[in-house]
């Protein structure tokens, strides 16, 4: 496989995952805005922090308002992580790796690009938002589903998996980093209530509220939420799970008779070190410091993958 093809696949599925994440965050904020009595701009602001675009946003817009945030996250081409920007990068990368994906995956991307484009060509009003979000989720689910259903489990698939899981781990970590302060009071004072409403929303934005209850029961502590999002081995959006998948793929991609790629060493190291910890230890270490550390280690793995597999010259 070409290094450039591996790069294209890796980024194609990072962007698919990114759209999925942005859409989830918007859906959660929308839900909070309609279910809570006092409207809170901070819900919208925290999305901007989570996707890491607050600075760029403030260059374009004076203040954080719902319509502007929606416009920025969905259709602003200045925002490299907007649904529109990601969709055109998805299509561009799909064209570049056209021969590596199946007809079904290609068609789901191509037709999905057209259908989303039709919806977001004009300004998206609040009442159109849920339609745009559900169509975007449908398209991403179709792309991911077609990938799982029709692609051979060979090198190609593993580069796809690497891109998807790097992006997903990164998103969960950023979400945690933006909301970590909500957990702090309950760590410091035993028995104090934390904003369960907010945390329900956080867990909901990784689509796993039901899973949380299934795993830990209905009385949920802050430490359990931390465990669930970071250390859990079966929750598909937990950091541990994502890095575990990355190690598996890198293991598959290791060449027989050659020494282990650096990226595999790094992901195994992360898996056996920071990610084999416990919620209590993480809290002792400092939740903010911990998430910052893992965000940078994940970025390092991503960077090392591009070197190990000659994405560029």
């Amino acid at each position: 496989m070409l290094g450039r093809t591996a790069e294209g696949l890796f980024w194609l599925f990072r962007y698919v995952e990114r759209v999925d994440n942005v859409v989830r965050l918007l859906a959660t904020a929308q839900r909070m805005a309609v279910t809570r009595l006092e409207a809170s701009e901070s819900d919208w602001a925290s999305i901007l922090y989570t996707v890491g675009t607050m600075e760029d946003y403030l260059v374009r817009y004076q203040q954080v308002t719902k319509p502007d945030v929606i416009n920025w996250l969905i259709r602003d081409e200045e925002n490299k992580s907007s649904v529109r920007s990601c969709m055109s990068l998805i299509q561009h990368n799909a064209r570049r790796v056209r021969t590596a994906v199946t007809e079904e995956v290609w068609e789901s991307i191509n037709a999905g690009h057209a259908s989303i484009h039709r919806l977001i060509n004009r300004r998206v009003s609040e009442s159109d938002l849920s339609l745009v979000l559900s169509e975007s989720r449908r398209v991403m689910a179709l792309i991911q589903g077609m990938t799982n259903a029709t692609m051979l489990r060979n090198e190609i698939f593993h580069f796809i998996s690497l891109g998807a899981h790097i992006e997903r781990a990164d998103c969960t970590l950023r979400l945690l980093d933006v909301k970590y302060y909500l957990l702090l009071p309950s760590f410091s004072k035993v028995g104090s209530v934390f904003d369960i409403f907010q945390w329900n929303a956080v867990v909901r934005s990784v689509s796993s509220l039901g899973g949380l209850k299934m795993a830990y029961g209905t009385e949920i502590s802050a430490a359990q939420i931390l465990d669930y999002l970071v250390l859990n081995r079966v929750m598909p959006r937990s950091v541990n799970f994502c890095i575990g998948q990355i190690s598996q793929s890198l293991n598959y991609l290791s060449f027989r008779g050659q020494r282990q790629p650096q990226s595999l060493k790094k992901s195994n190291h992360l898996l056996n070190g920071y990610l084999s910890s416990t919620a209590d230890k993480i809290i002792d270490y400092g939740l903010h410091e911990y998430t910052q550390k893992i965000i940078s280690l994940t970025a390092e793995i991503s960077d090392q993958i591009s070197k190990d597999f000659r994405f560029y010259e």
Partner: protein, 478 residues
């Protein structure tokens, strides 16, 4: 120059219906099927066609709006060719392909055709398509133009003409295959009634042809398709052919010359490649040997080619054979190398560089097509009878100031083949580009090819960049 071919003032030849209004034999079975269909069902099928093409992303990008994916309109009424008509076309295409290869080889070796004064020397040696770097370079099996697509038009029952030859990087084969795939999807029942020769093995034949010219000449030859990238008008075709052949689609930045071989940058390191089916123009192939500002090419590629350690397909410099200035000499070229008369004729052509021809052209501009010698895609062209006084005068000035840049031809009354329009059949002008694959002494022509159709009523311009569409081309088994 006298001409006996029918021009636009004469009766049109329609491929489906005789002038009496009766269907021709080739279309009888199709029309019978067509008449028996539910009109509403056909309208639905008609709508379905553009969805098929849009979803599968079969698009092109024109130079005018390079960021926009455009569909080439597909008309689902097939263009049908009888097996005896096809045998004639096939013989003509094979003859031409062999002559073109013999000509290119000669031009870059002894230049016997120039010594025999069949073609003016300066027309070859000072032609921008002539590559002095190719002098005395031999290629595996002496093939230079491995893939040739000559554009053929028809004006009567037995009258076929070659309008131009494409011996550099002819495109359109993917549409030939996709059009058939779409038809098989839409109308499977038709293919059980009418036996049509298959086209889907073109990629296999192409791969065989490519492997046959590998420097090592072995079956394990590594082949790749070199594309200028996703912004190129024909990128879709490059990806399609690479995919159907099961070889890598590479860009210049994926290739690198290491130790006298061309290598592909793969995830496991650099691996050598033997045959490059390039869809990048000569000028851009190698910034060290050709255009320095090319970011599409591979530095040093030509040196590896000259050392015989990689094969470039089609070879650099084949453009000398399909240059419009050379076109009018093609009958002489065919006679010189094959000893036979051309099977498919050339359209009579006035060379404006010749004073006598120029004066004829200037006094008959209203009735002629004037073409720029180095133009392509239907740009820079005057179609006298369909033009305005102002445009004609503009061309008159251009002809007088630089006559050698132009050639002129009579306006052919291209045959028509019906398209489906509002539930009815409506005649439109068509041409045909069959694809010839050359391996050593043998030439394979895939039965059919790409039929291009001018969708505007009365228009003679079939180019997709100017409102042309395509049709599936059927060659009947019997």
């Amino acid at each position: 120059m006298s001409t006996t071919i029918p021009t636009s003032s004469d009766d049109l030849y329609d491929e489906m219906f005789a002038s009496t209004g009766k269907p021709r034999n080739t279309y009888k079975d199709f029309l019978e099927w067509f008449e028996a269909q539910n009109p509403r069902g056909l309208k639905n099928k008609h709508r379905e066609t553009s969805k098929i093409f849009r979803d599968s992303g079969i698009t092109f990008r024109s130079t005018k709006s390079p960021l926009k994916d455009q569909l080439i309109p597909f008309d689902w009424i097939p263009r049908i060719i009888s097996s005896s008509e096809w045998r004639f076309i096939e013989r003509g295409v094979i003859q031409r392909a062999l002559a073109i290869n013999a000509f290119v080889r000669d031009v870059y070796h002894k230049q016997e055709i120039l010594r025999a004064k069949k073609i003016p020397s300066e027309l070859v040696t000072s032609n921008p398509a002539f590559l002095p770097l190719m002098m005395n370079m031999s290629t595996p099996s002496n093939v230079y133009a491995h893939i040739i697509g000559s554009d053929i038009v028809r004006t009567g029952p037995k009258q076929f003409y070659v309008l131009e030859d494409n011996a550099r990087t002819p495109s359109g084969a993917s549409y030939m295959i996709e059009n058939r795939d779409a038809m098989l999807d839409l109308f499977p029942d038709l293919f059980s009634i009418i036996k049509v020769k298959p086209v889907e093995n073109y990629p296999d034949l192409l791969l065989t042809a490519l492997k046959s010219v590998s420097p090592q000449n072995d079956r394990k030859a590594v082949v790749c398709v070199l594309t200028p990238g996703p912004y190129n008008a024909a990128y879709y075709e490059h990806a399609f052919l690479a995919d159907r052949m099961g070889v890598e689609l590479v860009e210049g930045s994926d290739l690198r010359v290491i130790d006298g071989k061309v290598n592909i940058r793969s995830i496991r390191g650099y691996t050598p490649v033997d045959v490059i089916y390039r869809r990048v123009d000569d000028d851009f192939l190698d910034p060290l040997n050709f255009r320095r500002d090319s970011a599409l090419g591979v530095p040093g590629l030509f040196d590896v080619f000259r050392a015989g350690r990689v094969t470039i397909v089609n070879a650099p410099g084949t453009g000398i054979a399909d240059d419009k200035a050379m076109y009018s000499y093609m009958p002489d070229i065919i006679r010189f190398y094959t000893g036979d008369e051309p099977i498919i004729k050339n359209v009579p052509t006035w060379r404006c560089s010749d004073a006598k021809d120029l004066s004829y052209v200037l006094s008959n501009l209203e009735n002629l097509v004037v073409k720029e010698v180095h133009g392509s895609g239907g740009y820079g062209m005057l179609i006298g009878p369909h033009s305005t006084k102002a445009k004609i005068n503009e061309f008159r000035k251009r002809l007088i100031s630089s006559p050698s840049r132009y050639v002129a031809q009579p306006v052919l009354s291209l045959s028509t083949s019906p398209i489906y329009k509002h539930g009815l059949l409506s005649p439109r002008h068509v041409d045909l580009r069959p694809f010839a694959l050359v391996t050593g002494d043998s030439v394979t022509v895939t039965p059919g090819g790409l039929t291009r159709v001018a969708l505007k009523k009365g228009s003679l311009v079939v180019n997709s960049s100017q409102g042309g569409g395509t049709k599936d081309t059927w060659v009947l088994e019997t």
